[in-house]
Structures are given as structure tokens and as C-alpha cells.
Symmetry: C4
Subunit: 276 residues, 4 copies
């Protein structure tokens, strides 16, 4: 009997059958709780809210940790159902060191650990955000995710070259700007790393405006770098777009039709072969 | 006779025949009035203009509301011509709760309602902007609109994933930045929501410059996030572009020609079939 | 004899044969002079340079106007060679009101006109920049220019819809922001037009930082608008890209080959037809 | 024997066989040293680090120059192995004036030259950054680099037209803004070059916020220019994307398969020919 319950809990936790009502309810509940935890972590940092609703935040924290602890214990108990984690002790240990199990542990640990520093506590609590990644496992948008992944994989070499090129451009541009602007603005352009902060803000077209050239030569140089920054956006855009176009075509081909004529691709050839 | 007039007014209001001169004149008049109302709403908020041309604005308001009221009454009166709104009372009620009829009502209501608060009044008046959406109904650019819609629909799953990914990146980046910069800038990075304001400005490359990291670690983190912000532009651009390319090809196919050869697509197959 | 000289001058001015050395020398000289004039106009506004090199600027101005005057007179004299401008008086008048002839006239007129206001003078002088447009006539990059033109024409309807959509978004976003931020920042968000200045800076991701929301609701609204601003870049980028891809394919097709196989497109069909 | 050693050193330096362990070790060592040198140059400009770790920076400098000097001497000694640089004196001289050999020389020269000015020294030291370009020679990502190069070459004419168009737009927009804003902000918009600094920041959407229009007309003009700035990003993005798409197709074709059907491209034609 206990084995049956164990198997059932394992199935619900891992959502092997999406048609099961319990699986759906459990997953919607956990995802909602994760989202609410993220909101709570964000809102708790607002001092006025944190002071006013301290009890509410605390209660929600206790409730969340309770749920996540139960979830973690159940996962640890039922993990032996999985072939990979067979063995009462050894299997459970191997399960507990998987990245997802560690994330689960880190989401509840800060609550149980003695609270030494308020900053450290918050930092560890931030790890709860990683629970968000679980949503990606849900397979709902798996095809889209695979497309995104394939596009990034397909254009990996070109993207790396672009990133590398942008980094070289950043170092060269920032070094030049440092030499040009250092005399006029010894505080803002105090060193190459300081000039690189300007370089990143310019090449990415963010442009905070906390640091910018003021000498005529510096502005001329800055103008050229800002224009080159357009390329830093246009080139990766081009690479990703080409990748997307190709992925969409591949998906069509799998469905066995020409992406352009919308007809069975093997058709004309076979027909002409038959006609002989 | 009254039925004929009713039918005629209904046709003019709904522009069923674009060749009719009355239809065209009426629509150009209403669209111009809508545009002028939008400009009036915008300009009225400029105090100097509002005080100087108070009478003019008021006169235009009275005239506009008069026209829109007549239009609304005529629409309400003639709506029974439409099969969907048959029935003197029931049909007219059903018509009056359609979104467009409600927008029409809201455009004139603030004038008749007692003016309690000047702010509220203006807010309700802003609803007049929704009349702009009527232009989209005019079917002129319907093919283009359908293309835009199809592209967004086609890339919906990928766009959602991207938006979701950007939101996770935003939360993680802002939380990290809050932990890093809070000590150095307790006012600017007072909470995670405050840090998220920085995160949005950086990932979208807007970069107002009201909030930015000042510590070396914060700047290093900010630089990485700014560079990732390029992806936040490049990935949706890639998705939309692939979608547009596909839509243009589809349109070609409908016209019965291959988008690449510019020839009748069924031609080569039939030719080879005939050759057998 | 005079007719021969006239014909010769006409040919040199209009560059009918690019192999002619005189034509090339003349065009390079005029284009260089136009570029130098643009630089002179730009540099003359720098007070320190203007005062120091006053005589040089004046001399260059006199020399330029002399050359452009001679060019204009020669164009006016020889224009009758062109079939469209036949007739000593009537043809010349018709030539002198063509846009390019008017630009030529406006480039020299400010020199001869009595100089009333220094501002006006400079403004008229700025028209000299329009001479730059002549370079576009030179047919060198005519294929590229035609591609650019075709792309803009092809995506015209979609681009118009996008621009129209961005304008509606701008008006709605700025009106909302005005209602939200007016109370907190009565000076910065004094009116909807003032809020639209914020809206443009945000939607285009320029973000000067002279005006931005400070209330929590305003920042939440601003964040959404900034994210929608990405679409304002991504959608036209997508439209233009699809257009470019199609144009490149068209160019290939004209050369009589399939853009994908690189082979004569009519080949396989004819072959299979012959095989029957 | 010496010839064998010479040949061996030449092979290691030029990495003709990537399977050789010595070649790999040597290249990884040199690349690491180049990267560390770049970091050292960057960090040395931070005064606090420079003072604290002066001896470390100096020791690393001496070590680096020693290695690069040995490398340079070995390259100079073994260069005669290359057919192009045959001849003890003449060949070596011809090798020493190749761009890469000059870069190598410039990377060590500042150390040996008497140190006159600290600024000049640093500037010459910055040339060490050019050693980074050597990584590009390593042929690892050669296919990707060739793709990037081909894309830029393919769209060269269109990109030039775009750059040229953006420059004309920049000059016209900045001149107009100078005339409009000069009276209101005589310091910020003191001249057209100063206005061009605003123009670049706006067209590239960087928007530092150090200079922006404040008059209503100036803001209206600025809004239009900012919107046109989107085109300055979208058009090159479109050109580069179309180029990338085409390059990817070309690569497929080389592999002997149709990029769309995924089949041998000559297949259908031959089959139909055989069927006759």
C-alpha cells in the first residue's frame, strides 16, 4: 500500500500525466506560491511595506517554507521510484545533490539556519527566485524554448565573434577615451575601467549621462563609437533573425511539406520518376 | 418613407458602400473632428493656451459634443436595421452595451454629467482618444493590419517566452543590484522595486540617468546587464522579422505564384506529369 | 562653333559620359567644393574659429559663390540643349523653376541679397546643404538606392500602420502619464505636450533623463511603455528586413538564376518536359 | 641541425599543425599572456591599484617584454623559412615591415625606449592591445569570421548609402536645431558642431542628457529626429540580416544540399533526365 502512495505522490510531483486533475492543481498551486514568494521577496525590501505588514510577510514566509519543506521531504522520500536514484541512502544522497534538489534545499534552508546577518539572509532568500526556473520544465512552451535554444546554438560561433569583437572595441574605445578625456575630467575618466563604464553605456546605447566626453576630440571619438554601437545591436539582431527564419523552415520540413509551396516536398520528384 | 431614411442613415454611418460621396464626406468629417478633438484635449492641458483660448476650446467642445451626440442618437435609432440588434427596446439595449457604443457614450457623457472634479473630468475626456481606434475599422489598411496581427500571432509563443525571460532577468538583475548597491546608495537603491526601475531603464536601453550603479561591482554587473539588454531587443526583432518574411511569402502564395520563381507553382509538377 | 561649345559644356555639367576625364574632374571638384562648403558652414558657427579665420571663411565664401554662380549661369545658358527646355526665354524660365535649379539659385542668392539679419542669412546659407542631394544623382550607387527605395515602398503600408500605432501609443501613454505624474511633478509634467516629450524619449529609448516619472504608479506605467518601446524598434526593423530579403531575391531572379540553387530556373522544367 | 631547429621553431610560431602539443601549449601561453597584459594595462590606470601593486605590475611588465622580445627575435630569425622572406638581410627587413611584425615590435619598443613622458609611454603601451588581433588569425572561428566579412561586403553599398544618409540627416538636423535652440541655450547649442553632439546622441538613441532642446519647437523637431533615429538602427539591421540569411544559405549550398528540401540539389533534375 505504502508503495502505491509513494508512486502516486511521485507522479503528482513530477507531473508525468498532465490530464490528472491532482497534478494540475498541485502544479498551479506551487507555481502560484513561487510567484507570490517572488513578489513577497521584492515587496519586503520596501521599508514602508515591510514595517506595516511585518506579520503578514512573516506568516506567508512560515506558510511557504512549510509547503516547500513538505514538498522537499516528499521529493526526497519518493525519489527512489526513479531508476536513477535507486537505493534508500545512496540514491537519496545522489538525488539531494542534483542542481534542482539543491535549489529546493536552498529555498528553505535560510529559514531554519540561525539568522546571523540580515543582509546574508536576504541574499540566500533571493535564491528562491531560482524556483522560477522550474516553470521552464513544464513543457508547455517546450517547442518554443527548443526553437530559442536552437537559434542561439546555430548562431553561437557568430554571436561569440560579435561579443568578442564588441569587447575588443570596448577596450580600445575606452582606452582611447581615457587618454583623451583624462586631462579634462580627471575624476570621471580617472582610469580605463572608469572609461569602460562610459564605453558600455555608449555601445549599448543606454547612455545614463553620468559620464560623457566634454573635449571636442573626445566628443568626435564618442560620436564614432556611438555609431559603431548601432552595429553592436544590428549584428546580433541579424544573426538571431537568420537563425529564427531557418528554425521556422526546419519545423515546416519536419511536418513533411515545403516551407514555400506548402505541398509535399517529395511529390514532384516521384511524379517525374513515375512518369518515366 | 421613414424606413428608407433610416436605412440610408444606417448605410452612411457604417460606410457599407465606399463609392457613395455622402459616406466619404461623413467619414472624413468625423475622422477630422476626432483628430481635432485629440489635439484639443492635448492643447487644453497647456495652461497658457487653455487660459488664452478658453472660449474657443469651450465652443469647439460644445460643437463636438453636439455632433457626437447626434451621431450617437442616430446610431441608436438606426441600429435595429442590423439583424443582430433587432427589437425596438431589446435590440437597442444590446447595441448600447457593445464596446464601440460604450466608447461613443463615454465620449459625450462627461459633458452632460455634473462636473465634480476637474481631474476626473479630464480623465473621462481622455476616453475620447479611444475614438481613434475607429479609424482602424476603416478597412483601408486591412491587409497590412492582418499581416501585423498574423506576425504577432505566429511568434506569440516565442514572444511570450522572451517577455517571460526578460522579466526573470529583470527580477534577478534588479535583486542582485539591490544587494550590491544598497549600502552605497541607500536612497536610490532603497528596495528591489526601486532597483527594478533601474533594471527596466537599462534592459530597454532607455537609460534616463536618474539611477545608476556607482560601486565597481555594481558597474561590472550593470555592464553585463546592459549587454544582455541588447538581446532583449535583438530576440523579439528576430522573431518579428521571421514572421514578416513568412507572411509576405504566404501573401504571394495566395496570388498563386511561387515567391521565388515568380511562376505558377503547380506548373512544373503538372508539366512533368503530362510529359509521362 | 558656339553650339559645339554649348553642347560640350552641357555634357560636362550633366556627366552624360563618365569616361570623359573633364566630366570626372569637374564632378570631383564640385562635390569637393560642396563638402568643403558644408564643413565651412558648420565650422563658421564655432565663434572662436569664426573670429580667428574670418578672412579665410570670407575668401572661401567669395570663391565658392563665384564658382557656383558660373556653374548656375552655364547651366542656364546650356539648358536649351535639353529637349524639355527648348526655347531661349520660355525654356530657360521652365528650367529655372525646376527644384534643382532653385536649389542652385538659393545657394548663391544669400550672397547677393542685402544682408539684413545675421540669423536669416545663416538660415538661407544652410540651404547650401541641399546641394549634397546632388551626389545622390550621380548614379554610382543607383542600384543600392533603388533597393532602399523599393524596400521602403514595399513595406510602406506596414510602416505607416506602425508609425500610426506608435503615435496613438504615444498620445495614450503621455496622457496617462500626465494624469499620474502631474500632481507630483507639476513643472516637468505640466501638460500633455510636455508629457509627450517624455513619451518620445522613452519609446525611442533615447532617454535624455531631463524628465521621468517619480511616483511608483508612474514608474510602473513608464516601465510598461519602455518595454513597448522595444516593439517600436523591432517591428519596423522586421518590416525593413523582410523587404531587403525580398529585394535581394528579386535582383537574383533578374539575373535569371534561382536565388537558392544558383542554377538557371527554367532548366529542370524544360529538361523534364524534353524527357517526355 | 640548426636548420631543423629553425624549421621546428617556425612551425611552432606559425601553428601550421594544430595537432602538435607544443604548438597548442605555446599558443595558449602567448594568448593568455596577451590577455593578462591587456588586463594589466587596464588595471594599471587605476591609481590605487597602481600604487599598491607597483612592483607586481613592474615584474609582470619585465617578464612580458622578455617573452615578447624572445618571440620577436625568434620570428625574425626563422622568417627566412617562409618563401616570401628569403634572404638573410633583405628577407628579414621585408618581414620586419609587415604590419604584424611592426605590431610585435611596437609592443616591446616602449620598454626599451627612454621613458620621456608618462603619458606617451602609456599611449605606446596601449598598442599592445593590437596583439589581441592575433587571436583572430587562429583560424578557429575562421568560418564565422568569413561569414561576418561576407555579410559586410555583400551589404557594403547599402550600408554606405545608409551611413551617408545618416550623416546628411545628422548635419541637417543639427543645423536646424542650432538655429532653433541657439537663442534659448546659447551655451549648450553654441555652434553646429555642438548641436551635432546632440544629434549623434539622439540618432543613435544613446541620449546622455547633457544637451537637449528646451523650446517647444526644438522639442517637436527633436521628437521627429529621435523617431527617424529608429530607422538609423532598423535599416542597417535589415541589411545585415538579409546578408546573414543569404550567407547561411550559401554555406548550405556548398555542402551540396538544397537549404530548403535538405536533399541533394542535382538529384531531381538527373532523376527526371534518367527517366526519359
Amino acid at each position: 500500500m505504502i508503495q502505491k502512495v509513494k508512486k502516486r505522490i511521485f507522479d503528482v510531483l513530477h507531473g508525468t500525466s498532465t490530464e490528472d486533475v491532482y497534478v494540475r492543481v498541485f502544479h498551479v498551486f506551487i507555481i502560484t506560491l513561487i510567484f507570490l514568494n517572488v513578489f513577497a521577496v521584492i515587496l519586503e525590501t520596501v521599508e514602508s511595506l515591510s514595517l506595516q505588514y511585518m506579520i503578514l510577510f512573516r506568516a506567508f514566509e512560515v506558510f511557504s517554507v512549510f509547503v516547500f519543506t513538505v514538498e522537499y521531504i516528499l521529493r526526497l522520500w519518493t525519489c527512489t521510484t526513479d531508476k536513477r536514484f535507486r537505493g534508500t541512502m545512496k540514491g537519496r544522497f545522489r538525488f539531494s545533490v542534483t542542481p534542482l534538489a539543491l535549489v529546493d534545499l536552498m529555498a528553505i534552508l535560510p529559514f531554519y539556519l540561525p539568522m546571523c546577518l540580515p543582509l546574508d539572509l536576504r541574499f540566500i532568500r533571493a535564491l528562491r527566485l531560482f524556483r522560477l526556473l522550474r516553470i521552464l520544465k513544464m513543457g508547455r512552451y517546450s517547442e518554443s524554448l527548443r526553437t530559442l535554444g536552437n537559434v542561439l546554438k546555430e548562431g553561437k560561433a557568430e554571436l561569440l565573434i560579435t561579443v568578442f569583437g564588441v569587447l575588443i572595441l570596448l577596450v580600445v574605445a575606452s582606452s582611447l577615451m581615457y587618454f583623451v578625456e583624462n586631462a579634462a575630467q580627471p575624476k570621471a575618466f580617472s582610469s580605463i575601467p572608469a572609461a569602460m563604464w562610459w564605453g558600455v553605456a555608449t555601445l549599448t546605447t543606454v547612455g545614463y549621462g553620468d559620464i560623457y566626453p566634454i573635449t571636442p576630440l573626445g566628443r568626435f571619438l564618442g560620436a564614432i563609437i556611438a555609431i559603431l554601437g548601432i552595429g553592436a545591436i544590428a549584428i546580433p539582431a541579424g544573426i538571431l533573425t537568420s537563425g529564427f527564419a531557418k528554425e521556422i523552415q526546419k519545423r515546416h520540413e519536419k511536418r513533411g511539406m515545403c516551407p514555400y509551396c506548402g505541398k509535399d516536398m517529395t511529390y514532384p520528384q516521384e511524379k517525374s520518376a513515375n512518369s518515366g
